[in-house]
């Protein structure tokens, strides 16, 4: 299968899906699913294939090309598989919504654009795909109306700022090296000055930092995640935001090259160190802000930012261990955050759009599959051993500790402990505790929504127990960056400074659980009671009021709320308000009186003439 076919299939599938929707919604659903599954098949058939093709020379004579290498393949397979799951999920989730054709079209278009990004072999097609992704994302974020609209504007404005930076970067590369093909840029980069490389790193870092929501540039994310339709939130958080990581890899390790980008600056004030520290801040602050959220999706969104920090720290630290950790965490994060959003989406579906952490609870008996997804998702998010998140986080911690960066390690570890608190609140307030009476008879989760949840849950476990599966392909990627490969076996890492053997831990835990389960069963059988047979100091429990969800960590809130504000968001809001104010006032230049206008004209003329006659400016 050639790459042209793949990319044509991706884009064409999106358009055809839209057209199919005009005929029949069922046809469209099936077509969309077929398309996305076919993409999975095609991409997986391209495993270990490395090719480069030129699409055409039409863009000002620059050859727009595509290339497939380990890095592209890794991201591509993640994109297409998550897309397939999300499309499957959407078949039920979006059934009764308006503008479903449009939704599918945009979803598939975004996925095609992401695919085009990772496969692009030159910067212009990279940028074109990037922008297609950006505006189609904007269109889909706004889909839910009302609160989604400001979120969309916030997203697109920040995204535009990023794109403009990238555009400047790309054009400056083109001007400097007279090529846009990435492989040629790599060769030219040797001749560039250190200052120019730093400029490139910084300007691209702004773009990718906005996309990956690195802390001072993160403010678009919480609203955008929370307000999009849930399956799309999943895509948005799982893969789309992580295009930023792809970008960081591209600029740091492919274009500028590891040996340059890791030796840019001196001591603490080196590029990669500052990036790592930004990553650390990105971990800590958003994770703690997440604790204060009462909207399930917003909570996940803040975690989306926080987890992005781990990836940044991992890749910015720039050892093969850290790089592998960062990249692996990207994949893991995609898996569990998609799962979590799908799980929340299932609740939204069943409760007609409720996602308020204060008014739900006890759903685990009603929606076991969604609960399973939520549980494994948060385990992955925390990084509980035997889930995938553990392995990648372990790699990152180990890198930091052995790389003599204990303070970075502390930030990352602290982030994890903050994560536990907020995700437990998430799980507890949605699924555990008392089930409100109004939700006793909620809609069942349809099969099409259960399947992706189950698949992703299993993936979390499989990647957690056999991390070697993805690590092998990550190994290929980091080798292509010029790093020494890790010694990876199917169950984990074996190296001279500490091994990780997940299957070992897994089997022991399994055996011990089995033993204790047997003991548990052997003891006296317990009586099953319902949630209303509960200790309430001897009273019959007051229904719907016997739940602890609001202000779950009240003492902490009292202590920390004053400090946990999104100051950057406030700053940007202030700038935006100022801009609006300025715009409103600039407009008043056009007063509406012809006499003023004539004065402008005369002044212009007079200014020019007198300036020239007096000072000979021109």
């Amino acid at each position: 299968m050639s790459l042209e076919l793949l990319i044509m299939f991706a884009f064409g599938g999106a358009f055809l899906t839209y057209l199919a929707g005009k005929i029949s919604s069922k046809l469209r659903d099936i077509f969309a699913l077929l398309c996305s599954v076919a993409l999975v098949v095609i991409v997986s058939s391209l495993y270990k294939v490395e090719t480069t093709i030129t699409l055409y020379n039409g863009f000002f004579g620059m050859p727009l090309s595509m290339r497939l290498n380990p890095m592209a393949w890794f991201f591509a397979i993640a994109i297409v598989s998550s897309s397939a799951l999300v499309v499957l999920y959407s078949m039920s989730y979006m059934k009764h919504r308006e503008r479903t054709d449009y939704y599918y079209f945009m979803l598939l278009l975004i996925n095609a654009a992401m695919l085009a990004i990772v496969l692009s072999g030159d910067l212009v097609s990279f940028f074109i795909s990037w922008e297609i992704m950006s505006w189609s994302t904007f269109l889909l974020i706004s889909y839910n109306r009302n609160a989604a609209l400001p979120a969309g504007i916030k997203y697109i404005v920040m995204s535009l700022i990023g794109s403009m930076c990238m555009l400047v970067g790309i054009i400056s590369i083109y001007t400097a090296f007279d090529t846009i093909t990435i492989s040629e840029i790599v060769q030219h980069m040797a001749t560039a000055t250190a200052g120019y490389k730093l400029f490139l790193l910084i300007i691209f870092s702004i773009t990718f930092g906005i996309k990956n929501a690195v802390v001072p540039l993160h403010t678009w994310l919480p609203d955008a995640y929370a307000e999009s339709p849930s399956p799309f939130s999943a895509v948005l958080s799982g893969m789309l935001t992580r295009m930023g990581i792809f970008g960081f890899l591209l600029i740091m390790f492919v274009m500028v090259g590891a040996e340059n980008s890791l030796h840019m600056g001196r001591g603490f004030f080196s590029y990669h160190n500052i990036l790592a520290w930004l990553g650390a801040i990105t971990i800590v602050i958003p994770t703690f802000i997440a604790m204060l959220q009462n909207d399930a999706k917003k909570l996940l969104a803040w975690h989306g930012i926080g987890q992005g920090g781990y990836m940044i720290v991992g890749i910015a630290f720039g050892t093969s261990l850290g790089l592998a950790g960062g990249i692996f965490h990207t994949l893991n994060h995609a898996i569990y955050i998609i799962l979590l959003f799908l799980s929340v989406g299932a609740i939204e579906y069943s409760t007609n759009g409720l996602r308020d952490l204060n008014s739900l609870g006890g759903l685990f008996k009603k929606m076991p599959i969604a609960f399973l997804g939520g549980l494994l998702g948060i385990c992955g998010l925390i990084g509980i051993p035997l889930t995938n998140g553990f392995v990648s986080k372990w790699l990152i911690y180990k890198t930091l500790i052995l790389g003599k960066a204990p303070f970075l390690a502390f930030a990352t570890l602290l982030g994890t402990w903050g994560t536990i608190l907020s995700v437990y609140k998430f799980l507890h307030n949605l699924y555990l505790g008392q089930l409100p009476q109004e939700h006793q008879n909620i809609k069942k989760t349809p099969l099409a929504m259960q399947i992706p949840i189950v698949i992703l849950s299993l993936t979390i476990l499989v990647f957690g127990i056999l991390p070697g599966l993805p690590l092998k392909s990550i190994n290929a990627m980091i080798v292509s960056f010029g790093f020494t490969p890790l010694t990876v076996s199917i169950w984990g890492i074996s190296s001279e400074t500490g091994t990780l053997n997940m299957i070992n831990i897994f089997s022991i835990l399994l055996v011990v659980v089995a033993i204790f389960w047997l003991i548990f069963q052997a003891a006296r059988k317990s009586t099953a009671v319902d949630q209303y047979d509960n200790y309430a100091a001897g009273a019959a429990i007051p229904k719907d009021k016997y739940n602890y969800t609001v202000e779950f960590y009240a003492p902490f809130y009292r202590m920390a709320t004053p400090y946990l504000r999104d100051i950057f968001d406030m700053l940007y809001q202030k700038i935006a308000r100022f801009t609006e104010f300025a715009c409103d006032n600039i407009r008043k230049i056009y007063t509406g009186y012809v006499s003023d206008y004539i004065i402008y004209i005369i002044l212009f003329l007079a200014l020019l003439i007198s300036a020239q006659l007096k000072w000979s400016v021109f």
Binding site: I384, K404, N534
Partner: protein, 311 residues
């Protein structure tokens, strides 16, 4: 040795944990000028709990507590008790994460019971964990950075050569910090905020009875064991008598002696902790957080800075 320790370690930990629970009750009673229960009282309690009929709020209510106890047992495998350890995979980081699973299992189980007291208890547990993890992480990072390894066994082995960690002055401050937070790690007074029977009806275990309670008690015993053993391993040189055991190294007797020395060290730490917890009343959660984030964190941070500069 590893295969053997697969069977011995959990049994030893359970017995010693229960024994320590009993001893602590006894010693506390003595400090209170009481007679106190026999030291095997916790064992009786466990047997009683097992014999009782419990209630269950669903499969998840059961699963959580089983998971909690099992993960605590797995945790034991990572802990070198003298020469006795079964696993090293993942090192101290994996150990830290596995330490999470115990409370997490209880949290899931108790939240599944649908009792708000449990939820409050869990909320407090996590807040307390956050509070003491800050200094604890700093301390562990200091040790890992100082010895430049993430393996618990290696840390112990390095100390076996040099005596104990306290002999290296860089680790004095972290040691003090750890000692200050140890009651919080063990969850005893003055940090008995989580179960707080008088306020929130035992918190997470409000709905636990019968075998659930028995499992919880066992888990609690293991937690006590782990908390003490980690301190002994990291700061007191594990099962070595400050490097004096070398002559009979390699024999079974050395191993047994190592274990005994280890237990004695644990016992000493326990007793010192008991003197603190027997005379203090309970903190409120904010007070606990403020305390833990103030002095222990400060000390641990200074320790980490020193070690980071030294390296």
């Amino acid at each position: 040795m590893k295969i053997l320790s697969l069977f011995i370690s959990p049994l030893l930990a359970l017995i010693i944990g229960l024994l320590f629970l009993g001893i602590s009750r006894k010693i506390t009673a003595k400090i209170h000028w009481r007679c106190g229960p026999p030291v095997y009282q916790p064992l009786i309690d466990v047997i009683r709990s097992f014999s009782q009929k419990s209630i269950s709020h669903g499969a998840f209510f059961d699963f959580g507590i089983i998971l909690s106890l099992s993960s605590s047992v797995v945790l034991i495998y990572f802990l070198p008790v003298g020469d006795l350890y079964a696993m090293t995979s993942g090192g101290l980081i994996a150990f830290l994460y596995l330490m999470l699973l115990g409370p997490f299992g209880i949290a899931l189980s108790s939240a599944a019971s649908g009792n708000p007291n449990s939820s409050i208890g869990v909320s407090r547990k996590f807040l307390l964990a956050l509070a003491y993890e800050v200094p604890l992480l700093l301390v562990l990072l200091t040790v890992m950075t100082h010895y430049n390894t993430i393996s618990l066994v290696e840390i112990v082995n390095i100390q076996a050569g040099t005596g104990m960690a306290f002999s290296s002055w860089a680790l004095v401050l972290p040691g003090i910090a750890y000692f200050l937070i140890l009651p919080a790690v063990l969850g005893v007074r003055p940090f008995e905020i989580v179960s707080a029977p008088q306020e929130i009806s035992s918190g997470p275990v409000a709905e636990f009875g019968g075998k659930h309670l028995a499992f919880y008690t066992l888990q609690h015993a293991l937690q006590l064991f782990v908390g003490l053993a980690l301190f002994v391993n990291i700061f007191l040189g594990g099962g070595t008598l400050f490097g004096l055991l070398n002559p009979i190294a390699g024999t079974v007797w050395a191993t047994i002696l190592g274990i005994i020395i280890f237990l004695v060290k644990m016992f000493i730490v326990l007793v010192i902790e008991l003197f603190i917890n027997a005379v203090y009343p309970r903190f409120r959660i904010e007070q606990a957080m403020r305390y833990l984030w103030k002095w222990p964190t400060l000390i641990a941070f200074v320790g980490l800075v020193i070690v980071a500069i030294l390296n």
